[in-house]
């Protein structure tokens, strides 16, 4: 069951890679949030209330609802055109992501077992690298934010492999991280949207040597 969810999770990554319209991107992110919730729910063998609350906050509220909505609002407000025009064509990026997935799985299998065998770990790695890759390959600021969120999701999954026995602190950290980064990133993206009309990174290349 969990594995199924994880597979779905990876599928969402493919969706992000190929997403032409930002809406799809956002949808994929929201759906990732949902998947994360599910994964958490199934993974956690013992649930104490605090942990549950934290989980709900993290995954359902923030990742599945608030952030997607906020992004959506941003797009609407700044009239960002709907294409996520990448540097690298969607086909290529899809290919690259597939490559990432494959190699990670392969290395995970060939490298020593233990955690590498652990599918969570593999998925998280895939997600993180995909997030980084999307960041590098996309033009728009908003897409940067989105790919950052994807990367964060990867981190969350990773923390699943590690963080279960760890104290609350790690979760707290994740929460703070998401909250802070997303909020502030969003606000700044908004500002940028106000100041530079067409919110592309292309405009943000004045500071250089």
């Amino acid at each position: 069951m969990v594995n199924l969810l994880l597979i779905f999770f990876i599928v969402t990554l493919f969706v992000c890679a190929t997403a032409i319209r930002l809406k799809t991107f956002i949808k994929a992110i929201a759906c990732q949030g949902l998947l994360l919730f599910g994964i958490f729910f199934l993974r956690l063998n013992e649930i104490n209330t605090v942990n549950l609350v934290l989980l709900l906050l993290e995954t359902l509220i923030f990742k599945a609802v608030v952030i997607p909505y906020f992004l959506h609002y941003l797009i609407k407000k700044n009239k960002i055109n709907r294409e996520s025009d990448p540097y690298i064509s969607n086909f290529t990026s899809l290919f690259i992501i597939t490559f990432i997935v494959m190699t990670t799985f392969y290395l995970a299998n060939t490298l020593r077992g233990g955690v590498f065998g652990n599918i969570y770990f593999v998925v998280s790695m895939i997600t993180i690298f995909t997030g980084l890759f999307l960041m590098i390959s996309r033009k728009k600021i908003i897409t940067h934010v989105m790919s950052f969120i994807i990367m964060e999701n990867g981190v969350v999954v990773l923390s699943l492999t590690v963080g279960i026995e760890m104290p609350m602190l790690v979760n707290l950290g994740i929460l703070l991280d998401i909250f802070v980064t997303v909020l502030v990133l969003g606000i700044f993206a908004n500002k940028i949207g106000d100041i530079f009309k067409e919110a592309e990174v292309g405009h943000l290349e004045r500071l250089r040597d």
Binding site: Y106, T110, H144
Partner: protein, 653 residues
Amino acid sequence: MKNRNGLILIFLTLALGAATSFVAFNALMGRNFEFVLSGNTILGQIPIRIDALSAWMILIINFTFTTGVLYGTGYLRNYNTSANLKLHQFLFFVLHLSMILVCSIQNFIAFLIVWEIMTVSSFLLIIFEYWKKETIKAGLNFFIQSHIGVLFIIVSFIWVMSQTGLADFNAVRLFATHQPGAVAITLFVLLFIGFGFKAGFVPFHTWLPYAHPAAPSHISGMMSGVIIKLGIYGILRMLLLINSNYIVIGEIILFVSVFSGLYGVILAIVQHNLKRLLAYHSIENIGIIGIGIGIGTIGLGLKNDFLAVAGFAGGLLHILNHSLFKSLLFYGAGSIYQQTHTLEIEQLGGLIKRMPRTAVLFLIAAIAICGLPPLNGFISEYLIFSGLYSSLKSNSFAFSLFMLSVFVALAVIGGLAMLCFTKAFGIVFLGTERKQYHVEPKEVSRMMLFPQYMAAVMIISIGLFPQLFLQLLKNPVALFVPDILNSSNGIFSYQSGILTQIGFIGIILTVLVFVVYEIKTLTGRNKINSVSPTWGCGYKTNDPRLQYTASSFVKTYSNLIEPILSMHKDVAVVNEIFPGNKQYSTHYYDKLEFYLIDKNLKWLKKLLLKLNFLQNGRTQFYILYGLIFILLIIFISYGEYIWNTIKGFFKLF
């Protein structure tokens, strides 16, 4: 206001000079001065030792600074930028202090510190006329090059420290004795390069010709007079400490010095700027000093005391002499600059009638620097010659040949120097004026003349009574050749006997000249002496432009040495029937500088500027760098492993 500062500075300099000179003189008489500052954890103990060598240097420094401060106060009268002037005077004092400390401190780190303070202060003194672009450029050039030199020194000191764990200079001796010869030589070469940058040995000389013209004249005098000598001091000090493999080391020194001497004078002759010319002459004289030290060292190696004494005595004496006449020459150049606002030899002329005293002083210095009797330059060169000559009697042909070539080289240097200074003095001071001045040049103030007289008196007295000064050199030389102190060893008295005769001849010569001149005037009184224009070989209207110019004076010569120096000619070809105004200009560029520095610098810069794609303002790239770094490290650490797995991957099919 301005004057008050000047007076304070003079007072301070004199006070410091007097105090240190007292100590130094005692040391020179053989009562060494030593006490140890209990430093701290960082520096370690700081021993302050003033032995005869330091004393000799300190006395020279004090004298030069005394003349320098007097001349400088007169020279800077016309500059009224108060803040700048105050800073200048302050730094002047700092420089004096730091130089004396350089001569006395014997702790590695502390030495480096005072050494660098000296560099910095002299650098700031050089850029006194900061509003000129080239001044700043020259200053930075000086600063950077001395920085590189210091890096060499630092490395060698670190080497010694990490081997012995001591911060005292004596650690070098310890190191040198406990290491194989090759190591000691390497260490010495490192130190030689490091100090050579300051001393201006070729090929570490390229900063001099820029820095000297840029600096105000009294500072140029200081630099050429004493600052570059501290490089020599460092080398001598290290020689004292690394007491092994003297022959090889000596040959190294000798080779470099001969090269510097010839190269310096060869390039000096073709310079058009008076101060630049003098700067190249400093290089030449450093070469001569080096020759002295080199043969001295070889003498130590050969256990040939006569050779050693002649070499070191000549070298050390030449340090003093050069500091005297070179500072005098620079002061003269400064006076010219102050009056005419140019240093281009081609534009000057006939100044002897406008500023006769300066002219005479300059002439004296010029004769001295050519090493002609009866002045001091000859004395030191004579000592070196005698050493060289006696070193000819070695028992290996190669060695004798080498020594003979050095011998000849020294002679040639003398000849070239003569060519150069006949040009410098003749064109600048003699003949008729080559251009109209806005302000009529006149003799400079007494304030500026007095120190020059001081230097001139010293020059003449060394020339006429050399034996006295040789006696002063007994203890410094004894540091290198200890057994000249015991009375049985007669080398020193022997040499001083010869010097007495030389001085005597000098006196005879002067008297003779005087007598002949008097006879002429006496007999000439009852004759008709008329004055008429110069014989132009039938060409009546004589025009200053008809005069022989500096470039034409050295034309034959520069044709001969064309291959050695790279001359840029801007020739205007006459191809019309009625040619208009034409320009023809030549300027010489230092070939070594071009090949050693400019070229390498260029490609190094190119290399570095290849990295400029990095900060391109694209956020994506910035993140990419991180990713690349991570992957790079992973690959470095697991490269082989990953490679195998990939191979395994392909084996599957």
